[in-house]
């Protein structure tokens, strides 16, 4: 129950609802703007710190132009006439540069499973060897691996994931050149990087028309036709020379006159055999009964194809099982390591993730044995991934080329301050090895720092404007309260005559100022949440932090309270007689 003096002030405020509303609105707008500005500024700082603390920003990335376009980190792309072919063997550059702590390959990859649609398609069509899995075009974004075999019915299944298949120029060209063969071929698992028509196999394997084949061949690497070898030139050229026979539509393939570049029954080494759908159906039947074989209820998972140092560089630790051994990498064993969230997804609720160890995942291509599960890394992008062993492309030059085009070499340094000199040394090394401008050498940290500086500048400007708004609002609130104080002078005199001390009067009006500041701050915070969300979103910083908005509202509310208390000075100088003189 309010005492009468407090009741008096409350009723005065309610009687002057417009004035009280303006007070609240003034505080709310000032606090809201300041809280949102503070939230944005703090979020930008935190975002920058978090971003740059990621191992991804302690690396120099060496890639081909194609794969650089797909990188998550900001890079500057320079037009190059690209002839280089990168393999994990090029990680040896790290041995010559002491600043480098880890060197590894990390290529995006994805695995496709027997989703509901595929299963029904498979069962419904009664597809056997040589028949199509898909009746129509592949799902949007799905890569299409035209069949290198003359039957043109099965798809290449597994690989790296650097290019969006259907959306890539090569995919469209390849498909149009050879009707539906490329599309209907089941993209099953694997190197979806070079994607459909973008792979040498695509153009060659599905074209019956030479021009079509040439068109498809040019899409290899996206305008990056590997030139004929020139003996005695740099290594990139010599590699491309090896591959050149197929990459540039060599005469033997062009002259084959068959539906595909590869003669029937003569798949190049390294190209996976087309799946046998009878066997696949049988495998599914078997799998359904075998508790050690898992059929995840997902269509697709994304992950990485990595070399062993990846895990050290990202401080990823194993929760159960083991990481890849050197043998796994050399032999390209069908193994898989799961991120924690991925493991939980596959295991399902209530089943410990450790129980997945040793079990086999049935993919569209075949089985992959789960050999390890990672501890939660605290980064959603890693926890929800899988990891396949990367092995250098072996076998035919064709395979070598399309895989190598999608290989990203990453060189991590312990001290980010040394990234610049490391970049220079790597540039020298790769220029020497491949020729000037043949690979893209990126320093994501440098680019990120530029973006972060821009964001900091914007957030500072917003904070300055917001604080200015708060100041103006607070001064106005102070003026309104001062005006109230002067109007209340007589009443203050009466209260003092009736027994109020100066301290009591101060406490009474301080409570009023506090209520105004607090209510305004709460309203301000309610305003600040969507406002800071919108600003964060505009700068691409993700969702706003309630903590920062709350902290900002608290600080701004404190400022508003301080200004609200200023008029109380009027009462400290007032004696009852002075107040009564006007009565």
């Amino acid at each position: 129950m309010l005492k009468e003096p407090s009741l008096l002030l409350l009723r005065r405020s309610l009687n002057r609802i417009a004035e009280s509303g303006l007070l609240l609105l003034g505080v709310a707008l000032g606090v809201g703007a300041a809280a949102a500005g503070f939230s944005l500024f703090a979020h930008v700082q935190r975002y920058g710190r978090d971003l740059l603390s990621s191992p991804a920003y302690r690396e120099i990335v060496v890639s081909t132009q194609d794969s650089a376009e797909e990188m998550a980190q900001p890079v500057v792309l320079r037009p190059v006439e690209e002839r280089a072919v990168l393999t994990s063997a090029d990680l040896s550059a790290a041995q010559l540069i002491p600043q480098i702590s880890h060197a590894y390959v990390s290529n995006p990859a994805r695995i496709r499973f027997l989703g509901t649609s595929l299963l029904s398609g498979l069962q419904g069509s009664g597809a056997g060897p040589g028949q199509m899995i898909f009746a129509g075009p592949p799902p949007d974004g799905a890569e299409v691996f035209p069949n290198p075999s003359p039957q043109a019915d099965s798809g290449h299944a597994e690989g790296t994931d650097n290019r969006a298949a259907g959306g890539a120029p090569g995919a469209g060209q390849g498909a149009s050149a050879e009707q539906s063969a490329g599309q209907s071929a089941g993209p099953i698992e694997g190197a979806d990087g070079a994607a459909a028509g973008g792979t040498p196999e695509a153009g060659q394997g599905t074209s019956t028309d030479q021009s079509a084949r040439q068109s498809a061949g040019q899409t290899l690497g996206g305008e990056k036709v590997i030139p004929d070898p020139t003996p005695g030139t740099t290594r990139g050229q010599s590699i491309s020379g090896v591959a050149g026979g197929t990459g540039a539509l060599p005469a033997d393939n062009q002259s084959s006159g068959e539906a595909g570049a590869f003669p029937s029954g003569a798949l190049p080494e390294g190209v996976p055999e087309p799946p046998d759908f009878s066997a696949l159906r049988e495998r599914i039947t078997t799998a359904a009964k075998d508790p050690d074989i898992l059929l995840p209820e997902v269509e697709e998972l994304r992950g990485y194809e990595v070399t062993s140092e990846f895990f050290d560089s990202w401080n990823l630790e194993i929760l159960a099982g083991s990481l890849f051994s050197p043998g796994d990498l050399e032999n390209n064993q069908s193994m898989i390591i799961l991120g924690y969230d991925t493991a939980r997804l596959i295991a399902g609720e209530g089943t410990p993730v450790e129980s997945l160890l040793g079990k086999k995942l049935l993919t569209l291509q075949g089985f992959r044995t789960i050999i390890g599960i990672l501890k939660p890394a605290g980064r959603a992008s890693l926890d929800s991934e899988f990891f396949l062993p990367y092995s250098p492309p072996a076998g035919s030059s064709t395979i070598l080329r399309w895989r190598s085009f999608n290989t990203q070499l990453r060189f991590a340094v312990a001290d980010p301050a040394r990234l610049g000199e490391t970049e220079e040394l790597l540039t020298q090394w790769f220029n020497r090895e491949f020729g000037e401008g043949q690979v893209v050498i990126s320093n994501p940290r440098s680019e990120a720092e530029q973006l972060l500086r821009r964001n900091v500048g914007i957030s500072l400007l917003v904070l300055f404007l917001a604080l200015s708004g708060l100041f103006i609002a607070a001064v106005n609130v102070s003026n309104i309260l001062m005006s109230r104080a002067l109007r209340m002078k007589n009443q203050v005199g009466i209260l003092m005559a009736l027994g109020a001390s100066k301290k009591g009067i101060l406490s009474l009006f301080a409570t009023e100022a506090g209520v105004v500041a607090l209510s305004g701050s709460v309203l301000g915070m309610i305003l600040a949440i969507p406002l800071s969300g919108a600003m964060n979103s505009a700068l691409g910083l993700g969702s706003a932090s309630l903590l920062y908005s709350g902290l900002g509202a608290l600080l701004a509310g404190g400022v508003a309270l301080l200004f609200s208390l200023l008029p109380l000075g009027e009462y400290t100088r007032l004696t009852p007689a002075e107040a009564f003189r006007d009565v």
């Binding site: 009468e4 009741l7 027994g499 100066k502 009852p576 007689a577």
Partner: protein, 231 residues
Amino acid sequence: MITLKEINKEYDLGEVKVQALQNINLSIERGDYVAIMGPSGSGKSTLMHLLGILDTASSGQYLLEGYDITSLPDREQARIRNKHFGFIFQSFNLFSELSALENVMLPLSYAGVSFRERRDRAYTLLSEVGLSHRTHHLPTMMSGGEQQRVAIARALSNDPDLILADEPTGNLPTDKGEEILQILESLNRRGVTLVVVTHNPLQGKRAKRLVELQDGGIIRDTGLVKEAVNA
């Protein structure tokens, strides 16, 4: 009860200094009924403010029950005003946002009285001044006489020793003014000390003691005559 010794009050108005009271010697005994009269600017209100500890003297001593209170801290002076004095003003000075009952309860809240007791005492006091039917009315809904009766009830809320009334009938018609004076005089008969500031000579004559002021000094104090006679 109250003794003022050599009290001076000077207002500093920048270049000009105004001597509001000079060499005031006044003693008010418990149960007194004192009328303070004088022309405008003679220092009546200043004297009343000093008596009610609403202001402090520039020099001199203020003794309450023998204790010099001029140097007491603000909080203690506020407590004395609350517990021992009741104020009645010409313009009533009720809070228009509070009901009659709440106006009377207000001084009790500074005395730390519980809500229930405040409410009960306020009801009783309003009944005593004949306003039991108007307890929940706002002052703006009441006549001047009723408002002044609420003010009297408020002044009595803490059972004061001294009531200081500044022109209590000044804003009232004669009949209503007479009612108010009768209430105040009945209080005095019950032992409450009453000091009334007035312009009205008739009211002055009704007091037991008349103190006349002119130019900040006391020019007549019938109490001194009585003392001399008694002596």
